[in-house]
Symmetry: D2
Subunit: 337 residues, 4 copies
């Protein structure tokens, strides 16, 4: 159950109310949102206590849910979460959102050129990794802070928003200065200290599904962030590990259809990792939107063959333009834009 306290309730009154709950043996976890505090009751609740709480003058309303993900579940916000970025883009709205760019920020020039091309394609958000989670320690680990600097500059010049990955809980504060959206990679979907700290940020978090995770586990990982008070969580399907050897991962679009019934959070699809093959990205982008996704995360490179990481799956900027155009037609066919 979730107890919504009245907006702008003073901390003193909140304390008073929590004492009231403690007296009734009810334990809660407080969730501090912009101008309202929610109290999540993890355990069960007697019928009597419930009515008492519901009628309390500090309480706006209560919400009952039998889902394990109380804040992420659909009943919490049936109209759907809409995430507004500084440059006016909204994720979770009628408009499909395209995030595109190289796997890694490689050089200043590369990201500058990429930003221009990404803008020209009609995409709204520039992606690029400065801290890279690489399978092996001898692979390129990213440019680090200077990469962030290049990325921000490139995006600003083109009036794009920025998404970039955070790997280390100790880097959140620093990365927050550069990015508009934090990306949590598939390997970190259950990195709980990272999720908890991101819950205390107010910047949006794109949470990639673990390549092993069930839908429930993804939603519970999102719950860790939401519980910190950060309302701006975006889910991302990016492919799961299966027995299929011909693709890098198996893009699970069932996840999109399922999540759209189960949660109010926006759902984005990454067909680049989800296929691992550039020549499949366009088809699967269209499929993702048709399945109901709110946007796409695409690896596009000014020179795919020279990409220092993930070269097989990066599409060219020409291909990106084609993709955006074709995706828009499919979006309209499913009453999106």
């Amino acid at each position: 159950m979730i107890i919504f306290l009245k907006p702008h309730l003073t901390l003193d009154k909140e304390k008073e109310f929590r004492k009231f709950l403690v007296d009734r043996n009810v334990n809660v976890i407080p969730v501090r949102r912009r101008d309202q505090t929610l109290l999540v009751v993890a355990g069960r609740f007697g019928e009597l206590a419930k009515r008492e709480v519901e009628n309390h003058h500090y309480v706006e309303k209560i919400l009952e849910t039998d889902k394990p993900y109380k804040l992420a579940g659909m009943s919490f916000n049936k109209s759907g979460t809409k995430i507004k970025l500084p440059k006016g883009t909204v994720i979770g709205n009628k408009h499909i959102v395209i995030m595109a760019g190289p796997c890694s920020v490689e050089t200043k020039e590369q990201i500058m050129t990429s930003a221009k091309e990404v803008k020209d394609s009609g995409s709204q958000i520039l992606r690029g990794g400065a801290f890279k989670p690489r399978t092996g320690p001898y692979d390129f680990q990213g440019l680090g802070k200077i990469g962030l600097h290049f990325l921000r500059e490139a995006a600003d010049r083109m009036n794009l928003s920025v998404i970039t990955e955070v790997l280390d809980v100790r880097d959140i504060e620093m990365i927050e200065k550069y990015t508009d959206i934090f990306q949590v990679g598939t390997r970190n979907m259950q990195n709980y200290p990272l999720l908890k700290e991101l819950g205390h940020s107010r910047k949006p978090v794109l949470l990639k599904r673990g390549m092993w995770a069930t839908y429930k586990e993804l939603l519970l990982a999102a719950e860790y962030i939401l519980l910190g008070g950060n309302e701006n969580v975006i889910l991302c399907e990016r492919g799961i590990r299966t027995h299929v050897p011909e693709t890098r991962f198996t893009l699970d679009l069932n996840a999109v259809a399922y999540l759209k019934h189960e949660t109010h959070l926006p759902v984005i699809v990454d067909p680049s990792h989800g296929t691992g093959r550039a020549n499949m990205v366009r088809a699967m982008s269209k499929a993702a939107i048709a399945a109901g996704a709110d946007g796409l995360l695409i690896e596009a490179h000014t020179n795919p063959l020279k990409s220092v990481s993930d070269a097989d799956q990066a599409i060219s900027m020409q291909e990106l333009k084609k993709l955006v155009k074709e995706v828009k037609r499919v979006a309209e066919a499913v009453d999106r834009k």
Copy 2:
């Protein structure tokens, strides 16, 4: 390598030519198509012999391919295989094809009503199982031959084509009299005696991907049928076994995008088994078409809750109508109809 003999070559001349090959130590497998025999060379071939063969006056052309699936591979027929059904429907064309109906033929009345509804929805082909492959021996095993009879009658009355499953190699001849398309279920994808016998039929075969199979294995299974001379193979993605517990199977639409590059055979998607949840079928149908599928295989029931098998995934006939309409809009957005 494939050697295309000249069309309508007499058997005597064919024999003569095969002797010519044997003299050069070349072993071939003959594929007898409607009016032409192909000779597939499984092994390697010397440069000299190749030129000799190519110039032989009984030979129309030769086709080299390094794929293990020689007849199923894209290079065999770059314009794509189009499969014509008696009632005028073509599979593999610009037009999306919808096959719909109940999991099992249950009663005459049920299949008659179903056929009417399927027709009304704008679908072209009636599905319905008379021989059912059931996980347990105590489950309903299908009506058998009488079910086929009902199915044919219902389809004919509505001018629909018929697709139904064949389980037993000994039933092929009998079922052939009733059906327009043989369905080979997921469990039988590598039932080689069945595939070989279906290769000798001239009726189309819809081959469902094994829930464990790679794309290569699916194409090699199709090759078994094609090698028998039956050109009319339709591939069907219907979901694979993964770790995801929330859906019955994981519908792998990557398969569609991949196969469309790799083979000339039509590709159909079964979102009913691929999700196992009626409320996801519509979204995944649209996704399938956006990914490039040539059609859909849908479980629809006049009363889904009373379906004797697969009740959770059957959609209602009202839902089917909605689905067909919505799918058409997506089809147009990807330049299909």
Copy 3:
């Protein structure tokens, strides 16, 4: 529920009793065993009818079970099924049983030499495929009937039993003349016509787990055979399809530990397919026995590098001898022989 009729009850009396059941609206499936008929009740049963049946003078006893696999479940035969082969070997006993030999029967000489080596190693059963289920149609499909002939001759000369695969329901009668055990391969685990016909044989059937199958599905597949009256079913774990690329399959020894609690049928392990790597076969054979397996199915070749199929996983005959010795030590450590 299972109704055990009194042994040697006449058919007339059986008919009379079934009429008695029909009068009470109870539907049964008769299972004709050597000298006793069982009647399996698939559906529910009223308390009253149950007592009436239990006390009927044609009834020996009734057995209640809430498992979907009524004949395969542990409660059916708590002391464990023991399968006796003509040459005295018993499967399911204290003694571990080793089935070894080449993937395919290649030549008479090869199988003769193999048989001698297999015997020398201390193994009891000779394996060898004459009908091979090959992924692609251009691969070696086995020697067919002449291969069976060679296999039988080789085994008889060395006083070994024979196990060989049956692919086609139309071959059962013929193969039955040559083999002591039918092998049903992984691809045919849910080939129901094949399972049903094997249920009418009285020769033992080794049923390999489908590479996609759950434990429940394996047990239900066994139930199809048992329901035909054939009591001699052996289960075989041979590896499942997973995301792991370094091995051909993932040998799932959990299956052994689980099945040993859940069924009375003997469980055999095939570490050759389950790893796909000759240098892992010995270790995994020991692990299988330690987990509780009743025996092993091993691919061993007189010249592994020249094996026409599955060369990577075949061990040499020297390695087989070492394996048998080491496995025996482990067997003793878990109170087997």
Copy 4:
């Protein structure tokens, strides 16, 4: 390639040598071990430069390897890594090592009693989680620092070593004061900041395989730790995510057999998570040792049904004693103790 500098070389000489390498365009990553520095060359190396390096008077030897995991690969240390714990236990030796205890430290009394029972069973290491990675944020997250305190006290009183999990890179220094072995859980196998920091510790690290990971990915994760100079890495197979619903995970003992050929690092098996069922733990423990594992990690509880986490898979202390005894017999059958 790995360059082994002479032991106890001064930092000045090391610098001089690295300048020598830079002059030859060779980039290295230094690995500082107890009394010797290694220089890992990630890229290629000319034949000439190689000989020059090999003959340099600061160089002890060079080691060439074509594996991506240079330090974790077998060629680095063919005799196998032996990890010595303060209380005399050695991991990677002839003696099998048993780590046992509750999933979570729950109360002081519980862990005290557990320690006594664990000692009595013949196990050498006490496990217990104080920081728990829980799928959902409403689940018990562990006692934290006070839990570590109880755990250490309990282990010391019984002369046992301690293993406990580290989740947060910021906790390493604190946990290091209490534990003898850091455990990295399955979800953190590719948490690179955590792995890198643990590389700078000198305490052993037990690295659990990601439930999605390949063997190569596990070895590359270990390489991250080894590259920091920490030689004491223990690998742990704990089950992978597969389609099998009857067990919590699929314990992949193939991993043990494979890793024993591929790496010099000790390999431990966790049959508790790998099965998720208490009644399978004993059988799979024996199987793990027969496959070649160096030890076991077992969840055992003084009252399994009351365990606050993972109750289904915890065995009782009586069962643990039986397990240790039986495992020893299998260990002897494979020439271990």
